[in-house]
Each structure stands twice: as C-alpha cells, then as structure tokens.
C-alpha cells in the first residue's frame, strides 16, 4: 500500500518535471554574456568559474565555506574522542612505502591547484580536497592513531578556523580600503596582468583560505567518521 502510494506520488512528480522540461523557454542570458565578455577584463582571472565564485558571487562562497565549517564542527562533537580505534586491514610494507612516496606529490598537486585556481581549472575547493586526501591516505594505511599523532586534531581545527576567518577578514579588508565587503577591483587592489600567478587581487588569497579550510574540514570529517567506539 505504502509502496503503491509512493509510486503514484513519484510518477506524478516525475511526469510534471518532464513536462516542465519539455516546455522550458530560454531567456537571453545577459548576465552570463557579460561574464563571458567582460569577466577577464573586470577580474583579471582567466578561469571564469573562479571569477564568479570568488569575485562576483564571493558571498555565496563564504556561505559555502560556512556550511563545511558547520558540518565539520558538528561531526567532531558527535563522535567519541577518547577511544580512537578503527577496523582496518594490515597493509604490507609495499603499500606503506608507496603511500609515503605519493604524499609529497599529492601535496604539490594540491598546492598547485589552489594557487593556480584563477588561471587554470581548479581552485580552493578542488585543491583542498586533494590536500585532505593526504591525511585520509595516512589514516587508511597507517591507522587512525598514527594519523592523529602526525596531524593533531587541534592543529586541524586551528587551520579550519583560520581559513574561515581569513575569508571574512579579506572581505573586511575590502571595506577598510574604501570599497564594499569582499570588493576586489573596486577597492584598489592591484589586479595585475591576466594569466600571471600573482594577479586578480584577492581571488588567489581567497582561494588559499578556502583551500586551507576545506582541507582541514574534510580531514576532520573523515577522521571523525572512521573512529569506532
């Protein structure tokens, strides 16, 4: 009975959705046209998605970072802290050596993706996830105790708070320099030449902050979820 009723609801909703899709109209997308035509000129970031995320709609990104922050701090209190153990396979020395070998490269890739977020595909979120993979790899191969000893959870939460605070403070810096909150070009930052590593004002700085925040947040989440009582 329950299944039948759910089926009816689902079929009605899906067909409504389908009919809507089929009768969709398109508008003239002035906004995206503007971003495409003038985005590079106004923000000096070649990657338009980054330009939108960290300049035009940077406030959204602040909210997004806040969501990760909230979830990371929630999960950290939900799971027990005292008895940290986890079910894991014992890996052979080959696995452990390879992991140690891979980690420096992961770090370089992560840092690169964060730093070049405004020039090439990537940015704070993608790079942050790659950095978080480092701690996740350590946890999976060497166990949670070792991982927690290597990167203390206090340091991780400090990094997370620091990244999030940095984002807001950079926004307030725009105000201090005479613009509005999170203003970039309009508060007289030197935007530089598009394509250079040091260009487009606060965008790379915001990227670094987000990267720190996401990396720390994700590793807190993973290490907390994997703990067993």
């Amino acid at each position: 009975m329950r299944k039948f009723a759910s089926l009816v609801v689902v079929v009605i909703l899906s067909s409504l959705l389908m009919m809507t899709f089929l009768s969709l109209s398109t508008a003239d997308y002035e906004l995206s046209e503007h971003y495409i035509n003038y985005g590079v000129e106004e923000t000096k970031a070649l990657n338009l998605v980054t330009a939108i995320l960290f300049d035009y709609r940077a406030f959204d990104t602040l909210g997004e970072a806040t969501v990760v922050f909230a979830v990371a701090s929630t999960i950290a209190f939900l799971v027990p802290k005292r008895t940290a153990s986890m079910i894991s396979a014992r890996f052979s020395i080959i696995m452990q050596q390879t992991t140690s070998l891979v980690i420096p490269f992961l770090f370089i890739i992560g840092a690169y993706i964060i730093a070049y977020g405004h020039i090439s595909p990537g940015g704070g979120f993608a790079g942050g996830v790659i950095l978080a993979v480092i701690t996740i790899l350590i946890t999976v191969t060497f166990g949670i105790r070792y991982s927690d000893r290597q990167v203390r959870s206090r340091i991780k939460s400090f990094m997370e708070s620091f990244g999030a605070m940095g984002f807001v403070l950079l926004g307030l810096l725009g105000m201090a320099l005479g613009g509005n909150f999170l203003a970039n070009a309009n508060s007289h930052f030197n935007l530089g030449v598009p394509g250079d590593l040091i260009s487009s004002g606060i965008i790379p700085h915001l990227n670094v902050m987000t990267g720190l925040k996401v990396a720390a947040g994700l590793s807190i989440m993973f290490n907390s979820l994997i703990k067993e009582e």
């Binding site: 409504l16 969709l24 508008a27 002035e30 906004l31 406030f59 999030a164 309009n186």
Partner: protein, 486 residues
C-alpha cells in the same frame, strides 16, 4: 554605511574565531560571545532605524546592481532583522546558564544559525537565499542533536531527511527559474519571470511551496516538527520557532509576491491551506501531553494564521500577517524559554509535571501565563491585536469562511492552553524544592513577555515599522526599482 553586511559578517566572524579563542583562554569564550551579541544587537538597531527612513541597498563587492549579490533592506527585511536581533540576544544570554553540554560548539552553531537567518532575510539574490537556507538547516540539525540523547538523534535524523528533501526542491525551483529568466537577482528575475510559459511557472510555484513548506510546516509536511522539538534544547526551540520557521516563511512570501504576484489562484491556495493548517494543528495540539510537543503544534498553527493573512493579498492583510509573524516570534520565544526554565530546574516536560509550579516560581509562571494568554489571542496582549487585524482583513476581502475560522481557532487554543495554566496553579501533592533561578535565565524571559504586553498596549510601536511593508510587497515594481537603484 557598511553596517548592513556586518549584520551577517559579525556573527560569522565570531563563530569562526571562537575555536581559536578557546585555545588561548577558555574563559574568554563566553565574554566574546556576550560582547559580540551586544554589538550585533546595536548594529541591528542602527540599521533598522536607518531602513525605516529609507530602504537600504548594499552591493557586495561593489559590483553594480545586476552583476553581483546585493543586500536589500526594505521594511519587511528590517522587521525580520529586528525580530532576529531581539530573540537572538535573549537566547544567547539565556544559554549562558542553560547550556552545559558542548558549550563551545553550541555557541559556534548558534552564531552560524543567526548569521544564516539574517542572510535569508536580507539577501536580494535567489541563489544566495538558497545558500543561507542551507546554513540555517545544517546548523539546526546540529543543534537538535547537541544534547546527545536518544530522542535528539532520531529527531535530528528525521529533520535532516525532510530538510534535504526540501533543499532539493528549492534548488530545483531556483535552477528552473534561472533557466527561464537568465538571472538570479530578485529584481531581474521578477522582471523576466512573466515571459516564462505557464506550466513552468506553475511547476516552480509548486516546488517552492513544497520546499519551503516542509520547513515552515505546512500541514501534511509538518510531521518532523514535534519529534524534533522534543529532543532539542529549549533555547534552540525558541530560536527555531521564533526565527528558523519564520525565515522560511519570509522567503516564501517574498518569492511569491515578487515572482508570481498574489493572483486569485495563489491567494485561495494560501488562504484555505492556512485555515487547514491552523485547524489541524490546533486539534493535534489538544491531544498532546508533552509541553514541547504542544508548543510545537501551536507554532504550526500560528504559521497557518500568517499564511491566511498574507494570502489575502491586500494591504491590511499583509500588515496583519507580518504583525502576527513578529508577535508570534516574541510569544513563542517567551513560552519556550519559560518551559526551558521549568525543565532546567525541576525537570518538568509534561503538562502534569507543572503542578504547583505557579506557587513555587510565581514570577516565571506569570511570564509564561502572559505569553499564553497572548498567543490565545486575548486582550490586552499583542496576539489579540494581530489576530483581530487578521479577522478584519479577511472580513473585508469577503473570505467569510476564513474569517469565521479565526476565532474558532482561538477557541481551540484556549482549550489546550487552559490545561497548561490550570496545571500551573493547581496544588501539587508534595512540597516542591525549588533552587533559586539564575538571573540570566529569568531576565530574557521577563523581557520578552513584557514585550508581549507592551506591544499589546502600545501597538503603534511596531506598527510604525510595519506600515511600509505592503508598499514593497504588493507592487513588486517598487522592490525592483529599489534593487536596480532607479
């Protein structure tokens, strides 16, 4: 000049910094919390005062009107901001004593919640609204689970599943809106939305209704609320009932008026659904034994009244509805804080547990009774005035059936709230040992309940803020011009 954005940025910054502050000094956490909350309240006051003279538009990142995100503070947003300021401050002071579990996380999450609700009420951008909506949802789930009891986890999980469903529908509606209008800014969306095909517009309306309706407890979608309220700390209940639900309703009202306008069809849907909501909620509330469940159902019922009033689509209807929204925030916060004191001191959670408390805690009980009478809609309290305005507005627009049910609803609520009052002032079997209550618990409750009385006797205080609301809701071109800076 830059104050509007500080209303959101200050709680965010406080929440982010508390973790670092704790590393240096544990005592500083509470100090910083109080200082930040006080500064926040002062900022809100100054912004509201400014917005009452002239609506404020703030362009984030200094982009012009259409490119970036703007904050818009018209009278409706200003009223929400004032409500948030007062309730948030009261609850933060209250929490200083009440919260003895995961203190640091509690303050962090509360500040994020306040920032999120504030963002929802101030933003002038559709997707930004979604982001803040999700911040509010996630911090709410966390605050429900924070007591780490059995009931709180189940409540939180139920809330989370419903919340994610509602988030999915809202997101779907927003992306469909983007596709047919090519914009995310409220002004431009509203201007282009008329060109969309009828079917698409209807679908978008349905999705917004399901999405936000789940959050503000439209009747068939309300099932999560009583379970959630049972397991949550009372201070969160006050925030949730006073702010979270109201912010979702605010967002829905804003979107409906901007995008669709109050057409006859939508108007009738909202009016009759509102009536249905408060009738069902009142009847369900009548059967409750648990205090928090009862208050939860009562919250749902008040949402019904507000929907009815706003759905009328007339000037008097909007004034009545927004006034009731403001009043209900105050009344519900008082009730939940009062009930929180009862459960904190003597562990009372059922109506029967209240027996004799009227004599052992006379002042707190009196404050609760004032809020109870106000919420039933008895004079001379604020609830009476707003319900009377709703009745009048419905009568004027000749929705006689709806108008008829407003006093019926009050009568029903009289039934179950009388049980509460009766329990409070009946003699208990044994002598109750009551330890003295900290002033930080009492004062916020007194202040809020006094506000219920003052608003009832001098309604002009808040009506001055509300009279301009219809101007920006009824005629969406006013809002559009404001946002576009014309």
């Amino acid at each position: 000049m830059d104050t509007p954005v500080l209303l959101i940025a200050l709680p965010l910054l406080t929440a982010f910094s508390l973790g670092i502050i704790k590393i240096f000094s544990k005592k500083m956490v509470k100090v910083v919390t109080v200082i930040s909350a006080t500064v926040h309240l002062a900022l809100i006051m100054s912004v509201v005062r400014e917005a009452m003279q002239r609506p404020i538009v703030y362009h984030l990142g200094d982009w012009d009107n259409l490119l970036g995100i703007s904050l818009v503070i018209d009278s409706f947003s200003a009223m929400m901001a004032l409500l948030i300021g007062v309730l948030a401050y009261a609850v933060i002071i209250y929490s200083l004593v009440y919260v003895d579990f995961h203190e640091l996380k509690y303050y962090v999450l509360s500040f994020l919640l306040i920032a999120g609700v504030m963002g929802m009420s101030l933003t002038g951008d559709l997707f930004n609204l979604y982001v803040f909506f999700e911040i509010v949802s996630i911090t709410s789930y966390a605050l429900v689970a924070i007591k780490e009891e059995k009931a709180s986890f189940e409540g939180a999980f139920k809330y989370l599943v419903m919340g994610m469903l509602s988030g999915a529908f809202v997101l779907l509606a927003i992306i469909l809106t983007y596709q047919v209008t090519g914009a995310l800014n409220f002004a431009q969306v509203a201007a282009n939305f008329g060109d969309a095909p009828m079917l698409v517009r209807q679908t978008i309306f349905v999705f917004f209704l399901i999405g936000f309706g789940t959050k503000f407890c439209l009747v068939p979608l309300h099932a999560w609320l009583p379970d959630v309220y049972c397991g949550a700390p009372a201070s969160f209940n006050a925030l949730s009932s006073g702010l979270v639900i109201k912010a979702s309703l605010y967002a829905f009202i804003r979107i409906v008026y901007l995008l669709f306008g109050m057409t006859t069809g939508i108007s009738q849907v909202m009016i009759y659904w509102g009536v249905l909501t408060f009738l069902v909620a009142h009847i369900l509330a009548y059967q409750q034994e648990s205090l928090k469940r009862l208050l939860g159902y009562s919250s749902i019922a008040q949402i019904g009244y507000i929907m009815l009033a706003i759905g009328l689509g007339t000037e008097s209807g909007i004034i009545a509805g927004s006034y009731h929204l403001f009043n209900d925030g105050l009344m519900k916060a008082t009730l939940f804080l009062g009930v929180g004191i009862f459960s904190y001191t003597v562990g009372a959670s059922k109506i029967d547990d209240l027996k004799g408390l009227g004599f052992s805690m006379p002042k707190v009980s009196f404050a609760v009774v004032i809020a109870t009478l106000a919420i039933i809609g008895l004079p001379p309290f604020n609830g009476f005035i707003s319900k009377w305005l709703i009745l009048q507005a419905a009568w004027e627009t000749e929705y006689i059936v709806a108008a008829f049910f407003v006093p019926i609803g009050s009568l029903l609520s009289l039934g179950y709230y009388l049980k509460v009052i009766k329990a409070l002032y009946s003699r208990a079997e044994g002598e109750l040992e009551v330890k003295p209550i900290d002033w930080k618990l009492r004062v916020p409750t007194y202040v809020l309940s006094a506000a219920c009385l003052v608003m009832g006797i001098i309604p002009n205080l808040s009506l001055a803020l509300i009279t301009n609301i219809p101007k920006f809701l009824l005629d969406s071109s006013n809002y559009i011009n404001l946002l576009l800076g014309r």
